[in-house]
Amino acid sequence: MAEEVKLFGTCGSPFSSRIQVALKLKGISYEYIEEDLTNKSPLLLKYNPIHKKIPVLLHNGKPIVESLVILEYIDETWKANPILPEDPYDRATARFWAKYIDEKCVAAAVKAFWAEEKEREKAVEEACECLKTLEGALKDKKFAGGETLGLVDIAASFIAFWLRSFQEISGVELLTEEKFPDLFKWCEEYVEHPIIKEHLPSRDELIVFVNKRRQNLK
């Protein structure tokens, strides 16, 4: 059966990158379409009318949106190199941590980096609480898939790369080796994983992305 797989993404976006990682992991060929977030294409708006966001996966003409939903769809459609474990309890655990990263950590970190001066202290505190929780989860072996990449590892690319890059760009320190030794070490190893490395933006690309996002948020 001829498969047509397209991905609408944006260079520099952690959510876009995670889909590329999953597709690569599964050995799926796809056409990549770069979206300018300050000038969204009619196709993007057609395929994601509710959220108008990337990433959008198009499979044989049918759109799937929301990165965690897309990741599960990919795992269920293409069986090679499973992203989710087989055991239902392990699956529930993986889903829990992926959701935690997206709903709590990403939100808290973004606030900490880009918030107004007066809100920043509280945001930094919240972000550090998240990192503390992740450090604990790492110790309990709740994620860190080893050689294979799982759902949580893929979601956690935000922590390993984007969060650490934002620290350097903004000067706001969250994830240090002193405060979170295990998480720090995990991040260092993680960004060296060949498939992850291949889908990380360069510093310049990241800065362009950040500036456009901040433009959109105004």
């Binding site: 929301e66 939903v69 897309i70 889903r95 829990f96 959701k99």
Partner: protein, 229 residues
Amino acid sequence: MAKSDVKLLGAWTSPFAMRPRIALNIKSVDYEFQEEDWLVSKSELLLKSNPVHKKVPVLIHAGNPICESLIIVQYIDEVWSSGPSILPSDPYDRATARFWSAYIDDKWFPSMVAFLFAQEEDAKKAAIAQMEEGLVPLEEAFGKCSKGKAFFGGDRIGFLDIAFGCFLGWLRVIEKAGGIELLNETQTPSPLKWAERFSSDIAVKELLPDTDKLAEFRKKAQAKMTANN
């Protein structure tokens, strides 16, 4: 499976806690229910089982805690796989169900919370408008998901029915308090009819809280939270 192997920590007032209970009913699973009186205090077991969020619902199965309502529902669907399916079988339909469930939780539910906590009339009106607007896409979603059948899940209640239907209790409280129809003939005729069918379903009927009792509870909760501030 022995009843003591399956325990659910929940609260009769929580739409999220209702979700796994509906799922367990669909699968005909016997379970022990522990009511958490969260207005008063959270039990040791809850705090131990869900240290990250400290919230209901929590499913404890053979000693293992599972948290987050929709994650629990998926877990139930996967473990008790011989019972009726909750998620659709086709991956695209599953993605669609997951998408709309996330929409309800992330986009629509906050407007409900905004209304329930609004003090000023203007804030209340704005929240109502947001809630109404937020429900409109569900008309089309129902058409696409149900494919002409009675529920979002088809012939039987499924994942999205559970995800949305659990809010009907609170929806009715808000409709009564505001003198409005959030689900109505003009904008959401299909979900309106669906709501009746969902509420009468055998897996749901006894779990939906009585509107007046819930409104009473809301008054108590508001009073307590105002006192605490």
